[in-house]
Structures are given as C-alpha cells and as structure tokens.
C-alpha cells in the first residue's frame, strides 16, 4: 500500500487498457470499422456481378480472390483508412478537450508524456484493427465470392502458393499499418492544437487532397519524396514477382519520418497545452 501511496502515476498498462477499451466502446469507432469491412465485400460483389473486363487493379481480382485483400487495402488507403485513423486521433485529444474530459485526465494525473503514449495506443489500435478487418474480410470475400485457383496470380504472370500468398497479404497489411501510423501521428499532432475533432478531420482530408494534387504536378517533381501519399501505391508491389522491396522500404521510411515528427510535435505540444 505504501507503494500505491507514493505512486505519482497510475500503472501505464492500466491506463492504456482503459484507453483501448474506451476507443473500442466508442460508437463512432465501431461504425467506421464496420464500414471498412464493407469495402472488400463491395469489391467482391462488383467483380462477381460484372465479371471480367475493365482495367485497373480491381480487374485483377477477377478469378484471383487472394488479390482482393491487397486491392481493398490499396483502395481504402487512398482515403477511407486515413480518415478512420484521423477520426480516432481527432477524438483522442481534440475530442477529449471538447467534451471536457481532457482536464480530468490531466488532473488525475495521467502525466502529459504518458497521456501521449496512451493516446497513441488508442490510435494504433484503430489502425491495426481497421487494416486487419479489411484484410480478413477481403480474404474471406475473395475466397467465397470471387473464388480462384487457390493461389495468387501476380502482376508479373507468376503464380504463388497459398503460404506465400498469405505472406504477401500479411506484408501489405503490416505496410499499410505503417502508412496509417504516419497519418495517425500527424493527425494526433494536429489534434493537440484544437478542441474541435472536425478540424483534425478537415486537415487530414485537405492534406491528402493537397498532397495528391502536388504529387500530380510534373513541375513539382522534387516535392514528391516529401509527400506521404507518394508511397501509397507501393502496396501494389506485393503483387509483383519477384517481390520488389524498394518502394515498400522507401515509403515505410517516409512514414517513419512522419511518425517521428508527428509524435514529436504531439509530445512538445502536450507538454504545454492547457487542459
């Protein structure tokens, strides 16, 4: 009991656990995760109805069910996954400030650095769950609705067995989580500057659009290595054979830089922010 009386912070595990439970009980989180699960289902049904034909990556799913989780993740990464993660980050700090719960946590006291850890854990939880849901539902829908040869036909025209196909899907899932953590870290940093969650969502949405536009302007080529969205297409590389790692590595490295900066700004800001 003496230890408890001298303790200045609650055990981190308990705090993080409470945060994750809170995130998972938030209706908005559940709705978003449910909507994300619909993406692979919608693609699968579309492919089943339309059959073959058409171009683009979605056409690769036809008769090649294992591609579905990869394609669904790639589609979702363009907008919906970043928004899902940004929404979690928006609620994490701006939302708590807006609902008046932030000061309760700070007075408890959670500790301002631990607060960032706790909130990061919540955002990571959402990012991981969102990706896993798309990947798992994608695999199920790919197998049940689309079907296929029980193997994955790569873009290079080679055929991968089930084990390697699952490995590729796991790889793209982990990579996607990495990209989302970059979005989440930046969103968390924005979240510490406002008490309106919508501001965070608007910034992330606007940022994605601006990055997309900047990335499409040829005379701004030099800017491309700086834009997080530049690497978003690298997930498709898991469908190539032999597996090229360059794009996955460079985009992951870029995401890491964004994570470091986002988390750094979050720590810096939370150390000063009014509760």
């Amino acid at each position: 009991m003496t230890a408890v009386l001298e303790r200045t912070h609650a055990p981190l595990g308990r705090v993080v656990g409470a945060e994750v439970r809170w995130v998972l009980r938030r209706p908005r989180t559940l709705v978003v995760l449910g909507l994300l699960a619909l993406i692979p289902v919608a693609v699968a049904i579309g492919i089943a109805v339309a059959g073959r034909g058409g171009r683009g990556l979605i056409a690769q799913v036809a008769g090649n069910g294992f591609v579905l989780p990869v394609v669904a993740l790639g589609l979702a990464l363009t907008l919906l996954l970043p928004l899902a993660v940004a929404s979690a980050a928006a609620d994490a700090v701006a939302g708590e400030a807006g609902s008046g719960t932030l000061r309760g946590l700070l007075v408890a006291p959670v500790g301002r650095a631990r607060f960032v850890v706790m909130k990061a854990a919540g955002v990571i939880t959402v990012a991981v769950l969102a990706v896993l849901i798309i990947a798992v539902v994608g695999m199920i829908a790919g197998t049940v609705v689309v079907g296929g040869p029980g193997s994955l036909i790569t873009l290079s025209g080679t055929t991968l067995g089930v084990g390697e196909a699952l490995g590729r899907i796991a790889l793209v899932a982990v990579w996607t989580i990495g990209q989302l953590l970059a979005v989440g870290a930046v969103a968390l940093a924005i979240s510490t500057f406002t008490e309106h969650p919508l501001v965070v969502l608007a910034c992330v949405l606007g940022g994605m659009i601006v990055f997309g536009v900047l990335g499409a302007i040829p005379s701004l080529d030099w800017l491309q290595p700086l834009l997080l969205t530049t690497g978003f297409g690298a997930g498709t590389d898991v469908l190539r054979d032999p597996l090229p790692l360059d794009g996955l590595e460079s985009s992951s490295l870029r995401a890491l830089v964004y994570v470091v900066l986002g988390v750094g700004v979050t720590f810096w800001r939370m150390a000063r922010r009014d509760g």
């Binding site: 303790r7 000061r103 007075v107 408890a108």
Partner: protein, 318 residues
C-alpha cells in the same frame, strides 16, 4: 488567512502532515490572455483543513485561478505551490487532489459507472479492483440507482453529482470544487453541503468556488473574494463577516430596550424596529437587556462589510 509574510522556502515535509502548513500557496499569480488580464497578482494561502470559499461574480477569474492551481493552465507569472510541490513538480501533488472544474466532463456513450471506471484507471492512488471505490463514490453522491445508465441521459444535476463522485474517488488532501451546485435542486445542494462537511470532518482541505455568498456562508470556514482578477479580501469567514459589524437585537419592547442598553453604557440606536448595537460582545448585550426585563427575540450580527462588498460586486456584474 490574511496574507502572511511567510516565505515559500519555510515549508515543512508534506508527508509529516503538519497541520499548519497550507495546502496551497499562490504567490503573485498572474495570467494574461493577450491584452486581457484574467488573474492579476493574486496572493492566497489555503490553510490545511479549511473550507475556503472562492467568491466572485462570473468572469472574475475564479476558474482561471483554479486551473493554474491544478496545473491545467500555465501562469504568466507567479508561483503555485500545491501540497508542498511547485513548479514542474506540481503534478506530484495531483494524486492527492480531487477536482471538479468547469463542470463535469464525461463521455455520453458510457454509463456513469463506466465513466468513473475510466477515470479510476488513471488514479495513481487506486490499486487492484477499481469497482469498489467507484461504487463507493457513486453511493456517496447518491447516484447508485443511475450508475448503469448512459451519461447521455443524465440530468444536469446527475452530471454534477457524477463530477463530484470523480473528485471523491480517492481520499484526498485537497478537493477543488468549481461551482459544484450549478444545476442542482435544493436536495442536490444539500447533498453537496453534506459532502463538503464530511470532507471537512475528515481533515480534507476544500476550495469551493461560487458566485453565491449564501452558499459560501453555509459551508466555508474561510473566504476569498475575487473581482476582475484581483483578490479584494481574504480571511476567516467569521472574522470577515463580523469585522466592522454591529449587533441587531429584536426585542419585545424596543423603546425600553434602547433605554436599558444606553443605561448600561452601550452605543445603541433604533433601526428598522430592531436595536442596533455597535458593541460586539453579544452575551453582555443580552445580559443587560434581560436584566432590564426586556424580552429578547433574536440577536444577530450585521454583516455589513462582506455582504455589501459582495452585493456591490454582483451588481456591477449584472
């Protein structure tokens, strides 16, 4: 609680529980937002074990003062010492501080109990099963019945009670209550007063902010009056209320009473059918009247200074 010239360096070890050591000290505390000064050079001690009423009209800087006391807002200048910790160490005092600031803040989609469980998970002083202290706190504020309902459906009073429960999750050394009776019905107000009395009985220091003199008067031992960010007056409630006051004595025969008092050497005059006596020793006044055969109905102190001061403040505010 008049401001002493005690320096911050003379504090004793907080764990020794020295009763005389103030629970909090504010020194020349100042907060400005741009060109607006919210708190302007406040010096204030919260004596250990006292129930301190922080009085002031809306917008007088009460909440900003409390936020700086709790480390939620960084002061522009000045020092805060809380339970023996100051500066960057302020947070070390917070486990022993319960607070209800700026109204209750909870998540609408969780029940009152789940909200408290989440808060309890962050309390350093709690260990093991969190449900027992949560249920105890809910019981203490009379929310046991509604504990499992969603916060979304709570009335304003229930929300206020839940906020109070969160401040009471752990036995505290200091409890800070910012306008705790906002939105409460008379029964709720009585409950809050009971809780404050219990805290006072257990030796907890309480800081109660309010814009109602009556509320402060009902429960506080000390009072500090804030207006436009400055501390106008502070000290023991009884002293402040009595300070240049006079006795108002209601008797069955005012004319005879007046004669009796004057005969006994008291400075007395008749006002509003009551006897106004400038002598401040009530037993002597009553004894003189009774001795003269005058029936005494009521003796009370006129609280001229504080009441008039506060009335003036709130009128300006209105």
């Amino acid at each position: 609680m008049s401001v002493t010239e005690q320096t911050l360096e003379t504090r004793t070890d907080p764990s020794s529980g020295t009763v005389l050591e103030p629970a909090a000290r504010l020194r020349d505390l100042r907060k400005t937002y741009g060109s607006v000064t919210a708190v302007d050079g406040v010096d204030l001690d919260l004596p250990a074990g006292a129930v301190v009423g922080l009085l002031g009209p809306n917008g007088s800087g009460k909440t900003t003062l409390i936020r700086m006391l709790l480390g939620l807002t960084a002061p522009t200048a000045g020092r805060v010492e809380l339970l023996g910790h100051d500066g960057t160490q302020l947070e070390r005092a917070l486990p022993d501080v319960g607070a209800l600031v700026e109204g209750p803040g909870f998540h609408p989609f969780l029940s009152g109990r789940d909200n408290l469980l989440r808060a309890a998970a962050c309390e350093p002083r709690l260990d093991g099963d969190l449900r027992a202290p949560v249920d105890a706190a809910l019981g203490r504020v009379g929310l046991t019945e509604a504990a499992r309902r969603r916060y979304r459906g709570y009335s304003l009073g229930m929300k206020q009670r839940l906020g109070l429960a969160a401040a009471l999750l752990v036995p505290r050394r200091l409890v800070v209550l910012d306008e705790p009776t906002n939105g409460l019905d008379p029964a709720g107000t009585r409950d809050v007063r009971r809780v404050i009395a219990e805290l006072h009985g257990a030796g907890t220091t309480v800081l109660l902010s309010s814009h109602l003199l009556a509320e402060v008067e009902a429960v506080c031992t000390h009072v500090a009056v804030l207006a436009r960010g400055s501390l106008l007056v502070s000290g023991e409630l009884a002293t402040l209320l009595a300070s240049d006051g006079e006795l108002a004595v209601t008797v069955d025969d005012p004319a005879r009473g007046l004669a009796a008092l004057r005969a006994a050497g008291f400075a007395a005059y008749l006002r509003d059918d009551a006897l106004a006596v400038t002598e401040v020793d009530p037993p002597e006044v009553v004894a003189a009247l009774v001795h003269a055969g005058v029936g005494v109905w009521e003796v009370s102190r006129r609280r001229a200074h504080l009441e008039e001061l506060f009335a003036r403040l709130t009128e300006e505010d209105a």
